[in-house]
């Protein structure tokens, strides 16, 4: 009898814990989100001045891309009277015969990104001029998620320092804008196994089943 009552007591206690023990969990507030992307940043929004997007992002500097391009400025040739602007889609010859435009799988033509009349500039889809140095403004028209990551530091490469002003590598320093896929390459030499040891054999544990 005594045992029975003890059991009942224990059972009742267990039930109360089960019933009321979860109340604190139910009342607990959901922890606030830690996301910190600014709300006033609309990556795909095309304003009249393409550079206005830079007002909402942390400041940064970059190396001048135009110094690196061999045949820049383009107007050295294209400024001449003998080379009138030709918007026709055609096979490229002479100087630009080596350019393979794989990017966009045939949907693009040179003039999608290069300005027809102001040869030293790139051009946005809204026909705004963009400098060759600021390719991130152009690429961001389609790759806006990447562009946002680039501005805030999650994509791309920072150079020189972590403490002072940011210096970033712009898109075209790593990506060839005409053939964007980065080729695979050989890795740096395989590390040695520690002296006196042999490389371990790959053991496939699934082969030796215990059960």
């Amino acid at each position: 009898m005594l045992l029975k009552s003890w059991r009942i007591k224990a059972g009742a206690f267990f039930l109360t814990v089960l019933l009321f023990g979860f109340i604190p969990f139910a009342l607990a507030e959901e922890s606030p989100s830690i996301r910190s992307d600014p709300e006033d940043f609309y990556p795909s929004f095309q304003s009249d001045d393409p550079r206005s997007i830079l007002l909402n992002v942390p400041s940064f500097t970059y190396d001048k891309r135009s110094d690196e391009i061999d045949s820049y400025p383009c107007t050295t040739c294209h400024g001449d009277e003998d080379l009138p602007p030709n918007p026709r889609v055609r096979d490229l010859e002479e100087m630009h015969a080596g350019v393979m435009l794989v990017h966009g799988n045939g949907r693009f033509w040179c003039l999608t990104c290069h300005s027809l009349n102001k040869r030293d500039y790139l051009v946005s889809l809204k026909n705004q001029l963009i400098s060759f140095d600021e390719s991130f403004l152009l690429c961001g028209q389609c790759h806006y998620e990447r562009q946002k990551d680039f501005f805030f530091g999650a994509h791309g490469k920072r150079k020189d320092n972590w403490i002072l002003e940011r210096k970033l590598a712009v898109c075209t320093e790593c990506h060839n804008p005409h053939v964007t896929k980065i080729k695979s390459r050989r890795p740096v030499a395989t590390p040695q196994v520690r002296k006196g040891l042999k490389p371990m054999k790959r053991i496939v544990h699934e082969k030796h089943k215990i059960w």
């Binding site: 910190s36 530091g153 791309g156 490469k157 920072r158 972590w162 790593c174 390459r185 050989r186 040695q192």
Partner: protein, 323 residues
């Protein structure tokens, strides 16, 4: 039979000489210390070669050197001068040993984008060149592991993947592992002589002159981040990096433990770590965790992140993220 054996044992114990191991060692120790001090430099852990220019007084100084944290600034500068003299004698090179203190209000954090890492091992090369790691036998702080895409089973990872085939391979992902600079570092707890500790900027460092080479920290580390100098490290003279730090990349001796320090010789001057600079893919993000506007904070707050072996409660300051 059993009783006989027990009796024999008792007799043996009774017949033991009447001084403990401790007293014996003490007596021995005082005698040996003086002799050892002189020979220590000459034959510290086997046969370390020390050139003649590194005099007897220097060897005494090396043997009786205090723990880094217990030394005053003057003592440390004296020690650094002596160490520079040693490198001059050993490598015939002016190696500058720095002692840059940590920035106040800075805790370093690292994030790595595993979508972007392609397994080129450029970070390993950059690290070895910067940190004066031994070329033969090879010591490398960073391991790039090759895993099946979609899996994170480190036991099935391949560290020694072939350098004759192009990377990234189809169906593989790459996971570089280096010291995670834990906020709750198990290696520091394991060290019996406190030769390793966590600096105010969150970096776990080693005093190579205080380390006794017992390798307990390497046992304790769940990330395989610590490396031991089993033999005299060999670095070609023209590949030695002369810009060093006492607690980081100064050339090590045989018989001491070494590890990644987030390149404090660079990062405490505001530069980026060598692995970050060497990475051609931009997969690495480095910065100050306490700065709300830093890139690392943006990544931690807005990306899908994970830490390796989080369940061990080591609180690593190294995150992996995807985008």
């Amino acid at each position: 039979m059993k009783k006989q054996k027990e009796n024999q044992l008792k007799i043996k114990i009774k017949n033991r000489p009447d001084f403990s191991r401790r007293t014996a060692l003490k007596a021995l120790g005082t005698g040996v210390a003086a002799v050892g001090a002189v020979t220590a430099g000459r034959a510290g852990f086997g046969k370390t070669e020390v050139p003649a220019e590194y005099g007897l007084m220097d060897q005494f100084g090396e043997f009786f050197q205090q723990h880094y944290k217990k030394m005053s600034k003057e003592e440390i500068s004296g020690v650094i001068e002596r160490i520079e003299r040693k490198y001059k004698a050993k490598y015939d090179l002016d190696v500058k040993v720095g002692d840059t203190p940590p920035f106040p209000g800075v805790v370093f954090g690292y994030a790595l984008n595993i979508n972007k890492c392609k397994g080129y091992r450029e970070c390993v090369r950059g690290c070895v060149e910067e940190n004066n790691q031994s070329r033969d036998p090879q010591i490398q702080y960073i391991r790039v592991l090759e895993l099946d895409r979609g899996s994170l089973n480190l036991e099935k990872s391949e560290h020694y993947y072939d350098d004759q085939t192009d990377v990234p391979k189809d169906g593989k992902m790459y996971l570089p592992i280096q010291c995670h600079q834990c906020d709750n570092p198990p290696c520091v707890k394991a060290c019996p002589v406190e030769a390793t500790w966590k600096e105010p900027d969150g970096v776990v460092v080693v005093d190579y002159n205080w380390c006794i080479g017992c390798r307990m920290c390497a046992n304790a580390c769940p990330y395989w981040a610590r490396r031991f100098n089993w033999s005299e490290p060999v670095i070609p003279k023209d590949e030695i990096n002369p810009e060093t730090h006492y607690l980081s990349n100064r050339p090590r001796e045989k018989g001491v433990m070494e590890k990644c320090t987030f390149c404090i010789q660079r990062t405490r001057k505001g530069e980026l770590p060598a692995c970050h600079q060497a990475c051609p893919t931009g997969a690495r993000v480095f910065g100050n965790l306490l700065d709300v506007n830093s890139e690392i904070r943006y990544v931690l707050e807005n990306k899908d992140i994970f830490r390796l072996k989080e369940e061990l409660n080591t609180e690593p300051k190294f995150w992996y993220y995807t985008d």
